[in-house]
Symmetry: C2
Subunit: 304 residues, 2 copies
C-alpha cells in the first residue's frame, strides 16, 4: 500500500523541554507531505525524518498559540534557502495574515517561492484541500481562541485487477478500466464472468483526524466517526480535570471517551503538560475507556 | 574566581541542521546571564545548560537575520510561562520594535514580566549596560544589514588582601578598604609597611568580544584589542573567499588575522556554513595565522 504515515515531530504542550518539542507532525500520504502545526524546532525535527522536504504541500495550523506556530517563520526561511520554488499554502484561523505576513515580508523578502496564507473560518467544517486521492477538511474545536482540527481522508480507490484471471480470459487491456469500475466480462462464447471473479476488493480508505487543542467537545464526534486513527490532545490527567476545563484542554480520559464514542480504530494521545515526568498514568487512564490507545512520542512514526 | 563562562548554544550559519543550531550563546558573568543572539531552538538549548533562567539579564541581538532571532519569541513566551516577573531588556538594531513588538503584543499578551526593546544605532560603539562589575559595549560590524557585535568586559577589581599580613600587623578591619585602595600601613611604632606587602594583585580583567556576522573588517581591531577571548564568525574557508565577500561574511583565515592583529588571547571561530561536513580545514586555516584558535561546537562551554 502507498504510505499514510504520521511522523510525530513534537507532542508537548506549551513548554517545550529538551525531551519534547511542542506541537508538530508531518503526515506523508502517498509521498505528499502535510505539516500539522509548527512548533519551534519543527524544521530541525522535520529534517531528522529524512523526508523529502520538496514534497511539502501545505502547512495546517490549528490555532495561533505560540506552541503551535513559533517554528513557522524558521521553516519558511529554510525552505527558501534550500531553493524551493513551488508555492506553499498555509492554513490557519483568522489573524494568520496579520501576524505572519509582516514576518514573511521582512525575513523572507528574497523568498524564491510563493507563500500563500489562507484564513479559515473555524466554526464549520471546510474542505481546504482536495486532489485525486485525498481530501482535507477542518474540524471545529473548542479552545480559548479560534481553533480547528484537520481530517485527512483518502478517497475510495477502485478494486484491484486479478492479473491471473485477466490472462486466463484473455481480456484486452482496453477493458481493464471498465472492469475496475465494476463491469462483468462476456467471453466471445457468450459466457458472463462476474466482476468479483476478476477483481479483489479495493484498499480500505484510511483517514486521520488531528484534534488539538480542545476541551472535551463531543460535537466533533460526527466529524471523526470511524476514522482509522485519531490524535486527540490529552494535556492533563483526570486529577487535573478542573484545570483542563479552565484552560480549555482535555484529560486523557476525555480523549479516550471521544475515541470510544466516535468508534475510531486507534487513538494517539499527546500534547502532554510538562508537569508529568512520565505519561504512563495518562495512558492507563485512557485505556480504561479505549484500549487501543498509544502515547505520542517525539520521533515516533505511525503507519496507517 | 567568579565565573565568566561562554556557553555555545548554536554555532551554525543560516541553515540549522540536526547537528547544529544557528547562532545563540549565553554568557554567565558572576551569575548574571546575557544571551547573545537567539536562533530558533535557543530556549531548548538554554534549558539543557541547567543555568538558572531567572538570572537572565538581557538579550543582545547582533542583527535581524532570522538565524539570529527566530528563537526570540519562543523564549520570551516560555519565560512568561515559567513565571518570570523581573523585566527583560532586549537590544538590537533598528526595526527591532517594528518586527518584534507586534509578535510580543500578540503571543505574550498575558506576559507576567515587562519586555523592553532597545534599538541601538550600529555605526558607533554604544555602552548599553553597566553595573558595578561589568560593562557591555557594542562593536560596529560590517554586514548586509545593520549589525553590531558586543564586548562584555569586567571592571578592574581591587587587589586582594593578604590575610596573614593583616593578622601579623594587627591591622583593624576598618582599614581594610583603604589598604585595598592602595594605602600603606603605618604601625604604632611608626614603621611604614608598603602596600605591596599587604596585598596581592587584583584578578586580571576578563573580556569577551562577540563578532558575528561580518565581512573582514579591520575597523573592529581597536575595539577588541587584547580581549581575553574573541568569537569571530568564520562562515567560509578561504577557497570561498569570493562568496564570503559577496555575502558579507568572513573566512577562517580572515577571522584569525583579525585575532592576531588585535592581539587577543584566544579565538573561537563559528557560524559555519552548512556546506562543510567537517570544520577541521577551517581550524587548520585559522591556526596558520592564530594558533590559539578553537572551533565552536553546540553545547560547548568556554571558561575565561
Amino acid at each position: 500500500m502507498l504510505p499514510f504515515d504520521i511522523h510525530i515531530l513534537g507532542c508537548g504542550a506549551a513548554l517545550p523541554t529538551p525531551r519534547r518539542l511542542s506541537s508538530a507532525q508531518v503526515v506523508n500520504i502517498r509521498q505528499k507531505l502535510f505539516l500539522l502545526d509548527c512548533a519551534e524546532g519543527a524544521q530541525m525535527a522535520l529534517r531528522r525524518t529524512h523526508l523529502n522536504l520538496s514534497r511539502l504541500q501545505a502547512i495546517l495550523l490549528t490555532h495561533l498559540h505560540g506552541d503551535h506556530a513559533f517554528g513557522l517563520i524558521g521553516l519558511l526561511s529554510t525552505l527558501g534557502l534550500l531553493g524551493r520554488n513551488q508555492e506553499l499554502h498555509i492554513y490557519g484561523p483568522k489573524d494568520l495574515q496579520r501576524i505572519f505576513q509582516p514576518q514573511i515580508d521582512y525575513f523572507c523578502a528574497d523568498s524564491p517561492y510563493p507563500i500563500i496564507l489562507h484564513e479559515i473560518e473555524t466554526k464549520t467544517p471546510q474542505t481546504i484541500y482536495e486532489d485525486r486521492s485525498l481530501s482535507i477538511t477542518t474540524i471545529p474545536l473548542h479552545h480559548r481562541i479560534p481553533c480547528q482540527g484537520y481530517l485527512l481522508r483518502e478517497k475510495p480507490t477502485l478494486p484491484h485487477i486479478r492479473r491471473e484471471a485477466i490472462d486466463y480470459y484473455q481480456i484486452p487491456i482496453s477493458q481493464i478500466n471498465n472492469i475496475k469500475a465494476g463491469m462483468d466480462w462476456v467471453t466471445p462464447d457468450g459466457e458472463t464472468i462476474p466482476n468479483q471473479r476478476l477483481t479483489t476488493p479495493s484498499d480500505p480508505v484510511r483517514s486521520y483526524a488531528y484534534c488539538t487543542d480542545t476541551s472535551y467537545f463531543p460535537d466533533i464526534i460526527p466529524h471523526i466517526q470511524g476514522v482509522t486513527c485519531l490524535y486527540h490532545e490529552a494535556t492533563f490527567a483526570q486529577e487535573h480535570a478542573l484545570l483542563a476545563k479552565q484552560t480549555h484542554h482535555s484529560t486523557a480520559a476525555q480523549a479516550a471517551q471521544i475515541a470510544r464514542d466516535a468508534g475510531v480504530q486507534k487513538l494517539i494521545i499527546g500534547h502532554f503538560s510538562s508537569r508529568y515526568k512520565t505519561e504512563a498514568p495518562l495512558l492507563e487512564e485512557a485505556q480504561q475507556f479505549f484500549p487501543n490507545t498509544i502515547l505520542a512520542q517525539d520521533g515516533m512514526t505511525i503507519q496507517l
